[in-house]
Structures are given as structure tokens and as C-alpha cells.
């Protein structure tokens, strides 16, 4: 269905190719997962399938990309629109019309389908993706999961035989992600659509894939194979695979279900062992306390009577579905956004009443788009500005950054940093003023596993140094890794607040893979299991 023949892609302003000598054969009706670090050329590979690269982005493409026999060199994206449907990373950025139904029809209108066929297909698509109830809703008012499904439906209604998706679940809560993946699987199974999908959250998708393509980046050869064999040695792997490697399971399980079947002996081995927990300073000094905190957007209450307390040295995860009020809560804690009711006190000071300079000494927030905070043209300049704003010793911020990310160079333009590096840079800029409370909004969105591990280590160190940290996230694995406490919000109210193991273990939605595999034992991460296995009372470590 899709053939890459010795494809090399070079962008106009770069000397080295993004992708070099790629050879791929993707048969019809397969769900293919494209995996790779940020900036490795995944998106370029996906965009080459419908000719956006190079028709739209510029650059040169050597070799040949054949899609159902059509050469993308001679067919512009619009001429492939009947064959390939592309769902962009941020669905909202690709919406052309204003209501769900019109959006579904737009592609078919462009293709010139007869009105009666369009009518029928819109109805079919509404049913297939469960959008019938919201058919007349304005697109702006939809939740993240609904938007993603509309974006998929919008390309699907035109009956393309290939569907290309760039990180379809990265912005979604676990429930919404399940919804989208279930819809995709149905397309593959029932309609024989070929799906090509890039995704960082392997734990969510690898079990559905028929094939995995690894794009290592830096011009290294692309690897294609079945998920089980590729995952055996892949540099990045979901927790289920890491646990499998640790226990030496063969064949490698990819789903929680398969892993549970293989895990009997591992569970026996771990009986009586206790997970090692991060040592939390028991100072119990309050950093922030809210009481009856409420925020409304117009008539819509975003937060209602929220009472939370966070202590020094504690890492708290805020979870809940898209639109539950997590970002609103973080914003209220730094005193931005709509006027609130109730009290917020950070070290006995109200953030909303603080002057601009005092605010950064009290609380720091890394927003969902960290790049918003960047303004200079080089890393060094950015650090100098932060020193000045925080009124601290020149060089403080740069030294901090050197500690967290030694590979970042002074002269680099912040735009040229990878997503993870940019996040760490912004974190340093915020930390320059040493705020006792540090907030992060969706820090791992779009981050690959190595970067996530690094961030987890940095945050643990900061907590050990006494910072109170609160992060809003959908990433259950990250939460299992670093959070001491989890607060779950729903409809603007706190519905659960307790230690990580208590809260996530009892919820099928928020439980990490390791916990699902080894329940009823209370393990959360591969690290904990590894530590326990290394310190078993008996010498024989045989988990086969």
C-alpha cells in the first residue's frame, strides 16, 4: 500500500538529511506504529506519505514514495486526498468549518462527492465514532477527546484507504485515549484501513500495533518489524516491556493481559516484599493551602470549593479528565485567570495580591507551552534575563541549567532546542528565584521516555531540596514514578486525595501498567520491582 524506495529527505536550510535511505513496505490493512525520539524525523516520515513533504514544506526528496501506485513526486497532497487522510497533531489547528457535521463533510465537498452520498457517509461516520449526540455542536466547545474523534471522522468520511495520525492521544486523558484507540482499531479490523500512527505513549498503543517502525534519528537506518521482536531490543519501551525484559519473559508480552499470564512466578517471588518509596522529609511544613477555592468562567464553574494543602518537599500529581479544572487550579495558585472566590495562601501570602517581582519569589509555573516564557535569541541571554528578573547573582541560572542539562550550549537559539531541553530551560528560568512552590502543567506531553526519565530525576532532586511540587498530568506512569500524593479532580471538585499507591491502585483508569500486572501486590514501577529483586533475602534471582 505504501512503499518507500531508498528515500532521503533533506530540508532546504539543513546540510544533513532528516531521513536517509529509508526503505519501507507497508501492506494494506495494518496498524503501523512509528516510534522515535522527538526530532528524529517521525513527523517528516508521516508527512511524506501524502506528499506534504516536500510539496508543502520545501526541501528535497530523493528516491520514491509510492502510495497505492501513485508517486508523490507527481501528485500534490490534494490529489492524494481521496487516498490518504491526515490527522494533524493538534486537531483544532486543522479545523476549517465551525460545526461537527460541516467539518465531517468538508473533505467530501472538496472531493466533489454527490450530495446524497455525502449525507449517508456523514451519518455513518457519526455512528462509527460515536459523535451523533454532538453533531451540531460548535467545534470550539468540544473536549479534547471529542475533538480528536471529530478530526479522525473528518478525514475518514471521505473513505481514504490510509489514515496517518501524528500523536493522536498525547493530549488526551487515559479515558479519552482509550476511546480514540478503540475507534482506530475498529477501522483496521472492520474496514481494512491502513493506519500509520506516531505516538510517544507506547504503553497505550503498542498492544494494538501489527508492525512497529523505529526512526532512530540522525540519519541512522529505520527499523521495521513485528512489535514483539522490535520491542525486545528497542531503546525505548513501555513499562510492560521493561518488566518483561527484567523478568526475562519470552515471547515478550505487549499487553497487560499477556503480561499477567506470564507474571505468576514473578508475583510469587515478590511475596512479602515491600516497594521502596521515595523518602519524604516529614517536616510537614505547609507550602500552600487553599480553602473553598472557586473559579468560574462566565456561568460555568471550573472549580468548586477546592480545599488542598501541599507541604514542603512533597510532589503532588493533579489528575482528572480533560476539562476537570487542573489547569484552572494551577492558574489560581499563581493568581492568574478569572477572579476567584475563597482563599489561596502560599507561605501565608496571597499570590493574586503579590506584585510582579514578588510573585516569582513565591511560586513558579511551567505552562503547557513552555516556549511561551522564552523571549531571548540565545540560551545564555535567556539565563541572564532570568538572573536579572530574580535579582540573584549573575550566573545562577546558567549554573543551574548546566547541572540539569549539561549538553545545552550557550549560543543555541531556544527554538532549536528539543522539546525536553526547552522544558528544562524554562524550569531553570523559573527556579532562578527559588520559589518554594513549583507548578508544572502537563510537563510530559510530547516527551519521549529518556527525556521523561530525566525530568523525573530532576523533579525528585528538587523535592529533596525542599521545593513543593504540583504537576497536572495525564501520564499515569510518570505519576507512579515520582508522585507522593495524587489529587483527582472531576467537574471542578476534589474527588480523591491520598497517597499515590492508595489512589491509583484503586482506579482502573489511573493505575500504571506494573500495578495492573502485579496486583494485588502494591508495586507501581519497574524500578521498585528491580530494587526488590536485587535485595531478595534468598540469593537465587530466578524469575523465569
Amino acid at each position: 500500500m505504501i512503499e518507500f524506495d531508498d528515500v532521503t529527505i533533506t530540508y532546504a536550510d539543513q546540510s544533513a538529511p532528516v531521513l536517509a535511505n529509508v526503505n519501507l513496505r507497508i501492506p494494506e490493512g495494518e496498524l503501523v506504529l512509528v516510534v522515535g525520539r522527538t526530532g528524529s524525523g517521525k513527523s517528516t516520515l508521516l508527512s511524506a506519505v501524502n506528499g506534504l513533504v516536500p510539496h508543502f514544506t520545501g526541501g528535497t526528496l530523493q528516491g520514491r514514495v509510492l502510495v497505492d501506485g501513485r508517486d508523490t513526486a507527481h501528485h500534490a497532497p490534494r490529489d492524494l486526498a481521496d487516498l490518504v487522510g491526515v490527522v494533524p497533531q493538534d486537531p483544532m489547528s486543522g479545523f476549517v468549518t465551525d460545526t461537527v457535521e460541516d467539518e465531517l463533510a468538508y473533505g467530501m465537498e472538496c472531493l466533489g462527492l454527490a450530495p446524497d452520498i455525502m449525507r449517508r457517509r456523514v451519518e455513518e461516520t457519526l455512528d462509527l465514532l460515536g459523535l451523533a449526540d454532538i453533531r451540531q455542536r460548535p467545534l470550539r466547545t468540544l473536549s479534547g477527546g471529542q475533538r480528536q474523534r471529530v478530526a479522525i471522522g473528518a478525514v475518514l468520511a471521505a473513505h481514504p484507504r490510509i489514515l496517518v495520525l501524528d500523536e493522536p492521544t498525547s493530549a488526551l486523558d487515559p479515558g479519552a485515549a482509550e476511546e480514540v484507540l478503540a475507534a482506530l482499531q475498529r477501522l483496521v479490523h472492520d474496514l481494512g484501513v491502513t493506519v500509520l500512527m506516531a505516538e510517544h505513549r507506547l504503553e497505550r498503543v503498542v498492544q494494538y500495533a501489527d508492525q512497529v517502525i523505529i526512526v532512530p534519528g540522525g540519519g541512522a537506518p529505520v527499523i521495521q518489524g513485528s512489535p514483539a521482536e522490535v520491542m525486545q531490543h528497542a531503546p525505548i519501551a513501555p513499562p510492560v516491556v521493561e518488566l518483561g525484559r527484567l523478568a526475562g519473559w519470552d515471547p515478550m508480552p505487549l499487553s497487560v493481559r499477556d503480561a499477567r499470564r506470564a507474571a505468576g512466578s514473578l508475583r510469587d517471588l515478590l511475596v512479602g516484599q515491600q516497594p521502596r518509596l521515595r523518602v519524604v522529609t516529614d517536616s510537614r511544613v505547609e507550602t500552600v493551602r487553599t480553602s473553598r477555592l472557586g473559579v468560574r468562567y462566565g456561568s460555568h464553574p471550573a472549580l468548586r470549593g477546592v480545599d488542598i494543602t501541599i507541604h514542603d518537599g512533597e510532589i503532588v500529581a493533579l489528575m482528572g479528565r480533560n476539562g476537570a479544572g487542573k489547569s484552572t487550579l494551577l492558574n489560581a495558585l499563581v493568581g492568574v485567570g478569572p477572579t476567584r472566590t475563597g482563599d489561596v495562601l502560599i507561605k501565608d501570602r496571597d499570590p493574586a495580591a503579590l506584585g510582579d517581582a514578588e510573585l516569582i519569589d513565591t511560586v513558579g509555573l511551567v505552562p503547557q507551552e513552555p516556549a511561551d516564557l522564552l523571549e531571548a535569541t540565545s540560551v545564555a541571554e535567556e539565563c541572564r534575563i532570568a538572573d536579572r528578573d530574580a535579582r540573584c547573582e549573575p550566573g545562577t541560572t546558567r549554573a543551574l541549567l548546566a547541572l540539569m542539562a549539561p549538553e545545552i550550549l550557550d549560543g543555541t537559539h531556544p527554538r532549536d532546542l528539543s522539546e525536553g531541553q526547552r522544558l528544562l530551560l524554562v524550569l531553570c528560568l523559573i527556579l532562578a528565584a527559588r520559589p518554594p512552590l513549583l507548578l508544572l502543567d502537563e510537563p510530559t506531553r510530547g516527551l519521549d521516555y529518556p527525556t521523561k526519565t530525566r525530568l523525573a530525576r530532576v523533579l525528585a532532586d528538587l523535592a529533596a531540596a525542599g521545593h513543593a511540587i504540583a504537576l497536572a498530568t495525564h501520564d499515569v506512569e510518570l505519576v507512579a514514578e515520582i508522585a507522593d500524593r495524587v489529587i483527582i479532580l472531576a467537574e471542578g471538585e476534589v474527588v480523591a486525595d491520598g497517597s499515590t499507591s492508595d489512589v491509583v491502585m484503586s482506579s482502573p483508569m489511573f493505575a500504571p501498567q506494573v500495578s495492573k500486572i502485579l496486583s494485588p501486590q502494591e508495586w507501581l514501577t519497574v524500578g521498585q520491582v528491580e530494587h526488590a529483586l536485587a535485595h531478595l533475602p534468598e540469593p537465587e534471582v530466578d524469575a523465569g
Binding site: G94, D98, E101, G112, A154, Y297
Partner: protein, 368 residues
């Protein structure tokens, strides 16, 4: 009444332009205020819950500014009329060759009224256009645009998504500045935000264009290059002819043939080119808005009010022109009042909107 659905945007525009045409025929403040009230009533009843639906308030404010500016100009810069002095300001005597213009001087009631009536008329016209703006969905109007002009329409789509997101971006960057401990108000803060905001907006426009392209926008059927050149040439010639024709029509002393005939010929060939090039587009329409009874009723209401006002003004019905010298309380011509009442029926004859698009109190999207 009928089922809940969208009224054809064309019908709203005909209705609103009819109201504007009616407003242009009178200076009677009572009639003008009645027209504004009708516009506000209909907008209140039938505007959708969408960014453009909220634009009416902006037009009301604009109308107010127009009135104030018009009155200020009349009173401070234009030679006064009338005799009733209500305020004596110091004035500058300008040289004789600037007769008709003055600066300052005494403020007279008649002058003030003349400025007010004229400003109110202009404001009413603007508010009627504003009503169409907030009642008719621009994207739905775009669907009714002939295929040949579609390319033009697409730039409007991009522009339409551009503005609300620009506002959201400015908010985000203001927050970002606060997070770095900077001032969030003042000219420097705005200047610092300008470049990243525009950068982001531009990037998004490119993404949108790429998305439209990959969904097949702009696909053409088989069409020869010669034919494409032909239609472009025809369009260009037609527009040039129309321009010359318009000039001939308004300028005295040009040959008769250069006027109306050339204008008609030019417009005709331009329309022909648009229709012809539209033939090669493969595009079809999904559920186009129907044009049925409500559309006829609403547009008829607009045409009727325009007709009544025009006839009344033409036949010199008393009360169509409000007297400001001497200042008397304007009378209300019955015929015009009936016209205004007919225009108001649009609030009822237009079908209600689908429930999900009805205006609720502000429903702002809530972050994760």
C-alpha cells in the same frame, strides 16, 4: 416559525441591507432609533453562540463614537446654523479663503441637532450592517459563494480563525509575562508580546493551509491551461471595463457610451468568467441552506421597509426629514412606522437556531 435550523445567511444580509437603505432615507431621530431597536431585538432573538455572534455590541459602541465625532465636527469646525446659542466657546477667526470652516466659536442648538441627526443616521446604517454580521455565519455564507470565487473565500476562512485565536494568544502571553515577574500592562508589554503572537498566528495559518490542502481543497477537474488563462483574462478585462464604465457614469461630459453600457458589459464578462472558471471546480455542497418560506419572509421584510422609506422620502411625506432649524419635535409618519414594524417581524419569521448554537451565557473553554 418552523423547525430549528439556520436561516440562509443571504436572507439576513438582504434584510439588514434593506434596513440600512431605509435608514439612509431619513434623518428623523425617532425613526432611526426605532430601526436600531428593531436590529437589536432581532439580533437578541436569533444570533448564534459564536465569536461573530458577539460582535453586535462592538457595532453599537462604534455607532456611539460616530455620533459623538459627527457632532463634535459639526459644532467645532463647520460654520454654525441657527440662532439659539447655548454655549460660547473661544474661537479663532480664520482667513477669508477658508470660509465655511471655523475653529471654536459659539455652540448653537440647531448646529448640534443637525450633527446629531446626521451622525445618528450613519450610526444606524453601521448598526444594521453589524446586525447582519452577528446574525449570518460567515462560513455558511461562504458555502453559497460561487465556486469560481471560492479561492477568495478561503482567505476569509483563514482570517476568521485567525482573530479569535489571536486574542487567546495575547491572553496566554500576558500570563507568561506575569510568570516571569514582568509587568503585564503598558506599551512595552504589548510590544514584547506582538512578535511571538504574530509568529504563532502565522504558523497556525500555514498549518491550516496544509490541512486544507491534504483534505483535497483546490482539486480541479481536467482543465486546459489555455482555458484557465482565458478565464483569468476575461475576468481582468471585465473588471477594467466596469471601472471605466463607473467613471463614465459619474463624471459629467464623458460620451454616453462610456457610461452605463460599458459598466454592464464589464460586469457581465466578469460574472461570466467567474461562472466559467467555477465549472472546472469539482467541489460539491453538503446540505446547502435551503431558501424557503422563512427566507422569503425575512428578506421581504427588509425589502419592504427599504421600499416604504424610499417612497416616503421621495414623495416628501412630512416627518421623513427632521427639522433642526427651527428645532421642533419630529412627527412620526405612519407609513414609515408600519415599515419598521414589518422589519421587526424577522425576529419571529426566522426559524430558531439549533439548540446547541443558541446564545447562552459565556461558555469559555476550560483548560485541562
Amino acid at each position: 416559525m418552523g423547525d430549528a435550523r439556520w436561516l440562509h445567511p443571504g436572507a439576513w444580509w438582504i434584510w439588514a441591507l434593506g434596513m440600512a437603505a431605509a435608514a439612509s432615507r431619513t434623518t428623523n431621530p425617532l425613526l432611526l432609533i426605532a430601526l436600531i431597536a428593531v436590529a437589536a431585538l432581532v439580533v437578541q432573538a436569533r444570533r448564534p453562540d459564536a465569536p461573530w455572534g458577539r460582535s453586535f455590541r462592538f457595532f453599537l459602541q462604534l455607532g456611539l463614537i460616530v455620533i459623538v465625532v459627527r457632532m463634535a465636527v459639526q459644532v467645532l469646525l463647520v460654520s454654525s446654523v441657527g440662532t439659539t446659542t447655548i454655549l460660547d466657546l473661544p474661537g479663532i477667526t480664520l482667513p477669508e479663503w477658508l470660509a465655511g470652516i471655523r475653529i471654536g466659536g459659539d455652540v448653537r442648538l440647531e448646529s448640534l441637532l443637525m450633527g446629531f441627526y446626521d451622525g445618528l443616521r450613519l450610526a444606524t446604517i453601521l448598526i444594521c450592517i453589524g446586525a447582519a454580521n452577528s446574525l449570518a455565519s460567515p462560513t455558511r455564507l461562504l458555502k453559497s459563494v460561487p465556486a469560481g470565487l471560492y479561492e477568495l473565500g478561503v482567505s476569509i476562512v483563514v482570517a476568521l480563525t485567525f482573530t479569535p485565536q489571536l486574542v487567546a494568544d495575547v491572553e496566554r502571553l500576558k500570563t507568561a509575562r506575569r510568570l516571569r515577574g514582568r509587568r503585564t500592562t503598558g506599551p512595552r508589554a504589548i510590544a514584547a508580546a506582538a512578535i511571538p503572537v504574530l509568529e504563532g498566528a502565522l504558523e497556525r495559518s500555514v498549518t491550516l493551509a496544509a490541512a486544507m490542502d491534504s483534505r483535497g481543497y483546490g482539486r480541479r477537474g481536467p482543465e486546459s491551461a489555455r482555458r484557465r488563462r482565458g478565464t483569468t483574462g476575461l475576468l481582468l478585462l471585465g473588471l477594467v471595463a466596469a471601472c471605466i464604465g463607473t467613471y463614465g457614469l459619474v463624471s459629467a461630459g464623458s460620451p454616453a457610451l462610456m457610461g452605463l453600457p460599458l459598466l454592464v458589459l464589464g460586469l457581465g464578462s466578469a460574472v461570466g468568467a467567474v461562472v466559467w472558471s467555477g465549472r472546472s471546480q469539482v467541489r460539491t455542497r453538503y446540505r446547502p441552506d435551503p431558501w424557503s418560506l422563512p427566507e422569503w419572509l425575512v428578506s421581504a421584510a427588509g425589502v419592504t421597509v427599504a421600499g416604504i422609506f424610499t417612497v416616503a422620502a421621495w414623495s416628501g411625506t412630512s416627518g421623513m426629514v427632521a427639522s433642526f432649524d427651527p428645532p421642533t419635535w419630529p412627527s412620526l409618519p405612519l407609513a414609515a412606522l408600519v415599515g419598521v414594524a414589518i422589519a421587526a417581524t424577522a425576529a419571529v419569521t426566522a426559524p430558531p437556531l439549533p439548540r446547541s448554537m443558541r446564545m447562552q451565557r459565556e461558555l469559555v473553554e476550560v483548560g485541562a
